[in-house]
């Protein structure tokens, strides 16, 4: 298990290096540079600034300097926000995005497993048909539509009852998180429901379920002990990539609900060619996702003994 974990971490580091390099090259391939938008730009000032930030050096050298700083955990200073370190931006705003994302993936995973198991249990009956209809809706409608609809619904509910049932937008308390994370997790929940359903239906026909029935186990014991655990495996497998989907999807939801997450800075930085912020947020997100995928792999090892011991 230790060797397995170590191997996963090592390949994760290589992935992060690759992400950093690819982002660096892509960023420099875009025409222009961060100093283009400066208002007072005489050629002298530009040159001075370029020298100060090291932008006058050849790209290869910039790359080496950048990697060197990155390894030490320093992402540099933002070009567009005065005196703000990229590390500080991440530190201030990532916890917000992370809280939202983790809550969303929790909703999605629990909901997906629950609804999936339920639809399999009531296969081709009314509950199955209703849930599967909603699932198609959840997969095909983009999250910003749900975000807007969710807000509209909240406004109406708050008006009807003349109380603030749940806040419509903003950030601060747990009640602020509920609706945005539900909206954010909805697509993933729908996907996981489908996966869980088909996985459950496949397991029902497995030989070991027949054995369990021949052993005289009660239907509920067979369901929980033998079916559920084996059916969850494919769901756990896609959970890693789905965390990626949720965090990237988070940018839009953060915008609609006016949540001060990292997503806004990420998008802004690309528009303004703020080199250090682009690099910082991308590498950080990349590292975060790699870490989550490794975590999922390790969890998978706990659920499925075949992975653990090979």
């Amino acid at each position: 298990m230790l060797k397995y974990t170590f191997g996963r971490i090592l390949s994760g580091l290589v992935t992060i290096w690759f992400i950093a390099t690819a982002t660096f090259l892509a960023m420099h391939a875009v025409p222009g540079d961060p100093l283009m938008n400066e208002k007072a730009t005489t050629p002298e000032i530009r040159e001075n600034l370029a020298r100060k930030y090291g932008l006058d050096k050849p790209i290869a050298e910039q790359y080496v300097i950048y990697l060197g700083n990155m390894v030490q955990g320093d992402f540099g200073i933002s070009f567009t926000q005065q005196n703000r370190k990229v590390n500080d931006i991440i530190q201030d705003h990532f916890p917000v995005s992370a809280a939202l994302g983790i809550l969303a993936i929790t909703f999605a995973a629990l909901g997906g497993i629950l609804w999936g198991a339920l639809t399999a249990l009531y296969r081709n009956q009314l509950p199955d048909i209703i849930i599967m209809f909603l699932v198609i809706l959840g997969i095909s409608v983009p999250s910003f539509v749900f975000a807007a609809l969710g807000q509209l619904l909240l406004v109406n509910i708050n008006q009807w009852f003349n109380i603030s049932f749940l806040p419509v937008a903003g950030w601060g308390t747990f009640s602020h998180m509920i609706v945005p994370s539900l909206v954010l997790g909805l697509g993933t929940m729908a996907l996981l429901t489908r996966l869980m359903r088909s996985s459950m239906l496949e397991i029902v026909n497995e030989d070991f379920i027949r054995t369990a029935r021949a052993k005289g186990l009660s239907p509920s014991r067979i369901f929980f002990q033998h079916q559920l655990r084996n059916a969850i495996l494919p769901v756990v497998t896609v959970l890693g990539p789905q965390i990626a989907a949720i965090t990237t999807g988070g940018f839009v939801v953060e915008l609609v609900f006016a949540i001060p997450g990292l997503g806004r800075y990420f998008v802004q930085a690309v528009q303004q060619l703020d080199y250090t912020v682009i690099m910082g947020t991308t590498v950080f997100y990349g590292a975060f996702l790699v870490f989550m995928v490794i975590l999922v792999d390790i969890i998978y090892g706990f659920i499925d003994p075949r992975v653990r011991l090979k």
Binding site: N205, E206, D207, F208, R210, T211, A212, R213, A214, K215, G216, L217, S218, P219, R221, Q225, H226, R229, N230, L233, I303, D304, P305, R306, L309
Partner: protein, 346 residues
């Protein structure tokens, strides 16, 4: 001994509803098993032998499966068509069952020990600790080396033969009076097959447990069984003791199976003779004898009317479903002639 047989199955009929129509998989099967008896049910693929025993256990998928008639009595009480709760009073407790493919018949995410202990916990209300202790004893009884270590391993860490031993250990957990072994050796290689059969026989003679052994392998039958039912196209076509079936075959199908079986008698330099053709379509079973189309001795009546079971009054357990056994039928070379008039069934 009570007046009842351990298991008495009569006129069992099972159908499967498929997109192509209704398959009549089992068409009126009668047999009985005494305590301590080893009964083999033989037949080729698709003849209904597995469906027969799985229907008795109530583990055929329903739907599409449907038990359309008959009864199965365990120690005199009906066990056919019970709901899950009632059926679990005998499943795993009175009747244990092992299956063809041990590789897929155990839960891949549970340890072997936990799976054996589960049966004991459910049926006998034991604690995990007590159940695991008994599970360890069961592994020793089924000759699994290093039982203590094996208890905590998962199915993928076992070989096929070891898994089948673990399956047997699991099915024996509650000391059932009947073990149903559904092709227990088909997925295993020959040397392991012999070991598993020896183990079954040993456990059977020690505990006095009855066994229903489903197989398509006549060599396995000769090695283990006392009595035999030969099934064809969803019906029993011949039944009797092993000696009667092998040396006094009274049905052309049994004879055909024997000719298709390799022997190791060196002088007999004979060719194996396959039975030509294939079994009838059970979507619409023929009105006559199911074997008539492949039978070298078929007469006109064979295509028209399904024969009843003819049995010999002097050997009442030996019966064959064949018109050649009817009084006045022509004598056929190689076929044992039952001396009879009495007929029953059908």
């Amino acid at each position: 001994m009570g007046t009842h047989k351990l298991l008495e199955v009569s006129n069992l009929s099972v159908e499967f509803e498929t997109y192509g129509g209704v398959v009549k998989a089992v068409r009126g099967v009668d047999f009985g098993v005494d305590a301590g008896e080893v009964l083999a049910i033989v037949g080729e693929s698709g003849c209904g032998k597995s469906v027969t025993v799985q229907s008795i256990m109530g583990i055929i998928p329903m739907p599409p499966g449907k038990i359309t008639g008959g009864s199965a009595k365990l120690k005199g009480s009906e066990i056919l068509g019970l709901d899950a709760q009632a059926a679990n009073q005998f499943r795993g407790k009175e009747i244990g069952m092992i299956f063809q493919d041990p590789m897929t018949s155990l839960n891949p995410t549970m340890t072997i020990g936990a799976q054996i202990a589960e049966t004991l916990k459910v049926h006998r209300g034991l604690s995990t600790k007590q159940a695991t202790e008994i599970a360890s004893e069961l592994l020793i009884r089924t000759r699994i080396p290093e039982a203590q270590k094996r208890l905590h391993q998962y199915p993928f860490e076992f070989s096929g033969g070891m898994l089948q031993r673990a399956m047997i250990a699991q099915s024996l957990a509650c000391s059932p009076s009947l073990l149903i072994a559904d092709e227990p050796t088909t997925a295993l290689d020959v040397t392991i097959q012999a070991q598993i059969l020896d183990l079954l026989k040993e456990l059977q003679s020690r505990d006095g447990m009855a066994i229903i052994l489903i197989t398509h392998d006549l060599a396995v039958v000769a090695r283990t069984a006392q009595n035999v039912c030969v099934m064809y196209a969803g019906q029993i076509v011949e039944q009797g003791s092993v000696d009667e079936i092998f040396y006094k075959s009274a049905h052309p199908y049994t004879l055909g199976l024997k000719l298709a079986m390799p022997s190791n008698v060196s002088q007999q330099n004979k060719k194996l003779e396959p039975i030509p053709g294939s079994p009838p379509d059970l979507f619409s079973p023929p009105s006559g004898c199911g074997y008539a189309a492949r039978c070298p001795h078929a007469m006109r009546i064979c295509h028209k009317e399904n024969p009843p079971l003819f049995s010999d009054p002097r050997e009442p357990h030996h019966a064959a479903r064949c018109w050649l056994q009817a009084p006045g039928a022509p004598k056929t070379e190689g076929l044992h002639q039952l001396h009879l008039i009495a007929s029953h069934g059908e």
